[in-house]
């Protein structure tokens, strides 16, 4: 397991694989299939101050190699997450990364302050990239100054390191990355979904009640890899990469691009065992490729001739 351990701000990961926020709930459904302690970390579903019902249905539409979703940050609210979900998760030996969201900067600050007090929350993931809510979400994630400001405000109150989840729905993601780094972010998670639209053949109308949705799944992987490649060369904080990962090869490709660890999203919805599977396969893949430690190959795609270099 040693070639697998990754150390990131606030996080001692036994392996670089974790489920991505929004695709794993609060872990309860997956605990019926395997012991969650085997995971590197868990990114829990976005939590807001008040409970949210989310968008009307239909909330998902399939696309070739992907899916659109417009759940709309449905969650039981901060109180319930603090009193029920996080204590329940504490039975597992796994660090929690709490994804937080809100409609206003004050919302982010309130959630950050309280949730970062939970003993098993080792880091926050600032969700400024949800494309499916009318207020907040992506509105904070497409203007560099706004992203910087919300990062700064959350950093001020959080007791644990803050990672910022970036949206790919921008002209130059490097500017966003730089802005949140300037705001004091300890790390970056990327990418969130790409805004998409699907229409019904019979009615000609959008399939999703929300009209647009966020595209995820294997279809977005090359975009995510390109962005991780760009951002990892722009900032000096670590990246947790995500976007269409469904195999050990995919995970390693993200590490090559410049991610220090990776998150698996949509693939959990198809195969509940995908995370344990990738963990097992990745170990074999490293063995096969004669890679001594996963961090040795972080950013391999652009770090010519530097041996033994570790990502930030």
């Amino acid at each position: 397991m040693n070639r697998f351990s990754v150390s990131l701000p606030g996080l001692q990961l036994k392996n670089p694989i974790m489920p991505a926020s929004g695709c794993f709930g609060f872990g309860r459904e997956f605990a019926e299939f395997y012991d969650l302690s085997i995971l590197g970390a868990i990114m829990i579903k976005a939590t807001t101050v008040e409970p949210r019902y989310g968008n009307p249905t239909p909330r998902v539409a399939e696309t070739p190699g992907g899916m659109l979703n417009a759940i709309g940050l449905q969650n039981p609210g901060l109180k319930k997450v603090m009193e029920e979900e996080l204590p329940w998760l504490s039975q597992f030996d796994v660090p929690i990364i709490a994804n937080i969201a809100g409609s206003t900067v004050e919302d982010y600050v309130s959630v950050a302050k309280e949730i970062s007090e939970a003993p098993n929350v080792h880091a926050l993931e600032l969700n400024i990239s949800c494309p499916n809510v009318k207020h907040g979400g992506i509105a904070f994630g497409t203007v560099p100054d706004v992203a910087k400001e919300v990062t700064k405000r959350v950093k001020n109150v959080s007791r644990v390191p803050v990672y910022v989840k970036l949206s790919p729905n921008v002209t130059d993601i490097r500017l966003m990355a730089k802005a949140v780094e300037d705001g004091g972010a300890d790390g970056i998670t990327m990418i969130n979904t790409l805004t998409g639209l699907r229409l019904d053949m019979k009615t000609g109308k959008p399939i999703l009640a929300n009209i647009t949705g966020g595209l995820s799944g294997p279809a977005i992987k090359p975009i995510a890899i390109r962005m991780v490649y760009e951002v990892s060369q722009t900032v000096n904080i670590p990246i947790i990469g995500m976007g269409g990962i469904s195999s050990a090869e995919d995970a390693l490709e993200f590490i090559y691009a410049g991610a220090s660890a990776v998150a698996v999203g949509t693939a959990n919805l198809i195969d509940p065992f995908i995370c344990p599977k990738i963990i097992t396969d990745l170990e074999q893949l490293l063995e096969k490729l004669n890679i001594d430690h996963i961090s040795d190959v972080c950013g391999r795609s652009w770090k010519h001739g530097i041996s033994g270099y570790h990502c930030p």
């Binding site: 929004g22 695709c23 794993f24 709930g25 309860r28 459904e29 997956f30 019926e32 299939f33 409970p51 019902y53 989310g54 249905t57 239909p58 909330r59 998902v60 539409a61 399939e62 696309t63 070739p64 190699g65 992907g66 899916m67 979703n69 759940i71 449905q74 039981p76 799944g217 294997p218 279809a219 469904s246 949509t266 959990n268 919805l269 198809i270 195969d271 509940p272 065992f273």
Partner: protein
Amino acid sequence: MKKIGEMKIVSQKEIAKNIFQLILQGKLVSEIERPGQFVHMKVGEGIDPLLRRPISICEIDRENQIMTCIYRTEGKGTTWLSKKQQGEYINVLGPLGNGFPVQMKSGKVALLIGGGIGVPPLYELSKQLRNRDIQVIHVLGFQTKSAVFLTKEFQRLGVTYIVTDDGSYGEKGFVTDVLKKQNFDFDRLYACGPTPMLKALEQKFPEKEVYLSLEERMSCGIGACFACIRPTKDREDKKGYRKICSDGPVFQAGEVIL
């Protein structure tokens, strides 16, 4: 308990237009607890289609670990599934959902109403009710003659009324027309089919014990993704919603807004 595994195709045939009967064998069958539960099948070899397809269970043979599923080909995924043959394997996740309650005193009367591709799960339900000495009445609606299936099987279990939208088989009309005409005396109603049909039934029998099986676009099928949500009718309800895949697909009438 939910399982994931390869199930072997015992047989597959088209029993009506675009309606396929798929018989599968595997350990997962032992885990099925109630009629009305469903399975989530991987369709296609690669990433297109990406998501599993929820398919209802029509009949269970626990002893031989065999289950029968009946589905309609709609798009790429189910068309792929319909081309799989005897001896091949399908990756199945299940059983999922809660299913229909079957506890009922013997001698009581159950009215089972199915519409189109909502008919199959009622078959195992009817069998299990019959085993408990409950009298069953079936009312089944289909679009047209070529889409009619399983009628003989239902007739063997109890009185069965068939209607088609165009009158090409059985009586012309909707299932609700049969109810109007027959005015059945029953203790409990079970239904599975299109939402307008379920709505009509809920409105027609506000005083009765009614169980409805719902359909919605799903992705995970296990309650993790929050794609298939319905709001509760009770505004004071603690959660305010139900997940169709894991809290349902069967709900008592009045629990969720249809």
